[in-house]
């Protein structure tokens, strides 16, 4: 009885404390955003900052509204979104499958080892101009850039995952008479999941970089094109509209990947 009376209020107290902590975090987050935008806007209006170099929040907001209403923003968003998602899916899927399958051939794992180290070290975006040459100026080349970069990351991570599996576990399955394909299915694939999932998370960022940089180099549509083109015209408000749109896209993809992560994680 004594316990019940003393612990019950404590629990409620803890919960209230947690809630008030969360509320405080949220208030500070909003405050920070409003503060930054406020200083920025004030700096422009009072003449400390030049609008044509920095843009101005009120101008960004009206550019955002008008480009949303005339459909051009959604068009760019849709193009880049497709490039990112399709590239991400192709690259991550094929990369993961190849990286896992490499476990079945110790010979090829050994053969490919130095190449993997080289690929891992190179800034993968440096491949972009080549891929544009190979795949042309349309959406395909941006999908290809995103796909190739995410392939490399997924491949390396999945392979690394297979290498981390406890060799005693494999010995145990062998002692039970398991064939290599059974070991692959029962232990290697599920055991590599944490590495595969972390590759997916990394690849959201890499697919975005791939598509946007591809659009910088050469494109007629897409948020990367929009940012680059507006920058050339010193239309800084439109540059910000593009950047904020990319942030929104990244957040949306993040939500999806977190959901997948929950489903896959053991």
């Amino acid at each position: 009885m004594v316990d019940a009376t003393t612990t019950a209020p404590n629990k409620a107290e803890t919960r209230t404390k947690q809630t008030s902590f969360r509320v405080r975090v949220l208030v500070y987050q909003i405050g920070l955003l409003v503060g930054i935008l406020g200083f920025w806007e004030a700096g422009i209006r009072l003449g400390y900052l030049e609008a044509y170099i920095y843009g101005v929040p009120s101008g960004v907001a009206s550019a955002f509204a008008s480009q949303l209403l005339d459909g051009s923003l959604l068009r760019h968003f849709w193009v880049t979104g497709q490039e990112v998602v399709i590239g991400f899916l192709i690259g991550s899927l094929l990369g993961t499958i190849s990286g896992l399958l490499l476990w079945l051939s110790p010979l090829w794992a050994r053969v490919l080892h130095p190449y993997m180290i080289a690929l891992n070290g190179v800034p993968k975006i440096a491949l972009a101009p080549l891929i544009i040459v190979w795949f042309g100026l349309g959406m395909e080349s941006k999908i290809a850039i995103a796909a190739i970069i995410t392939f490399i990351v997924a491949f390396l991570q999945a392979h690394k995952g297979t290498q981390q599996i406890d060799s005693d576990l494999i010995r145990l399955l062998q002692s039970l008479g398991a064939k290599p394909l059974q070991i692959f299915r029962i232990v290697v694939v599920p055991g590599s999941l944490p590495w595969i999932v972390s590759a997916l998370r990394l690849n959201v960022g890499f697919a975005l970089i791939g598509a946007v940089v591809g659009e910088y180099i050469s494109a007629e549509e897409g948020l990367g094109h929009k940012v680059y083109y507006s920058g050339q015209l010193y239309d800084l408000n439109s540059v910000w509209v593009g950047i904020f749109s990319l942030m929104i896209m990244a957040l949306m993809l993040e939500v999806v990947v977190s959901w997948i992560e929950k489903k896959l994680q053991w």
């Binding site: 005693d168 145990l172 039970l176 059974q182 029962i186 599920p190 055991g191």
Partner: protein
């Protein structure tokens, strides 16, 4: 007293050499001959690194022999086929699988899946005191419980011969003593023949019918002791108070060629 057909495992002159074809071959097991009788627990005791686990791998068919032969159930072992159960110090449970799905692992590898495999597994789980944990993940279990699940995984596909490679050494003292008693009871009940590797002499005396003492690497059989003073009323705890326990402990201890690692020794393999 032991007819031929009562021998479930026989090693004759088994020899294992690593890197045989290279300039630096390492002889791990020189020559081991031993018989394991039906329903017997045979303990292998030897200095650390003497080649006990190597011998186990050879018996399980995971390593080729460079001499002699190993027969299990009258069949010569030449590859891993699941002819023996194998249990290690690590429980090696798959963390993403539930308890019951870990227990059915060996059955699944033999192609038995679904309701039939689960029935065998849940019967074992119920019988050996893990009811209610069927659908728990291993992370939710204590070390002792996890080793128990590993034992059930070994029992589920019903091998006649079970190899235990220091299965209790990662457990705390109390859990270890209790689990020794439990495992001894379970393997007697299931009529299994067991080879137990241990460096704990007390564990060997309290669990085994016979104890084989091995030499330093390359391993050979140094001596064999029969634990004759155990009966139905002795268990892993009270056997330690038996007058003959101390004498046997001291005898085996004196036979072990224990290398003091701090001082080093010329006995080490070059």
């Amino acid at each position: 007293m032991t007819p031929q057909d009562d021998i479930v495992l026989r090693a004759s002159g088994a020899r294992v050499v690593y890197n045989e074809d290279t300039a630096h071959p390492v002889e791990a097991v020189r020559s081991i001959s031993l018989d394991l009788r039906r329903s017997e627990v045979l303990a292998l005791v030897g200095p650390s690194g003497c080649g006990k686990t190597t011998l186990f791998n050879a018996i399980a068919g995971l390593l080729p022999l460079q001499g002699g032969r190993v027969e299990v159930g009258g069949q010569q072992v030449d590859k891993a086929t699941g002819h023996v159960g194998y249990m290690l110090q690590k429980d090696l449970l798959l963390p993403w699988r539930t308890v019951i799905d870990n227990v059915t692992l060996g059955l699944e590898i033999r192609g038995m899946r679904g309701a039939q495999a689960r029935a065998i597994a849940s019967d074992l789980i119920r019988r050996y005191g893990l009811s209610g944990f069927e659908n728990s993940k291993p992370a939710a279990l204590s070390g002792g419980m996890r080793q128990r699940v590993a034992l059930m995984r070994t029992l589920a596909f019903n091998p006649d011969v079970i190899l235990l490679d220091e299965p209790f050494s990662a457990l705390d003292f109390q859990t270890r003593i209790l689990l020794q008693a439990d495992v001894t009871r379970i393997i007697k009940e299931q009529n299994k023949s067991v080879i137990l590797i241990t460096h704990d002499i007390g564990e060997a005396i309290s669990m085994a019918d016979r104890i084989v003492v091995l030499t330093n690497r390359p391993a050979t059989v140094k001596s064999v002791h029969t634990v004759s003073f155990r009966n139905a009323s002795t268990d892993a705890v009270n056997i330690r108070t038996h007058p003959e326990y101390q004498a046997m402990f001291a005898k085996i201890w004196s036979e072990l060629e224990i290398i003091d690692e701090a001082k080093g020794s010329e006995n080490k393999v070059a």
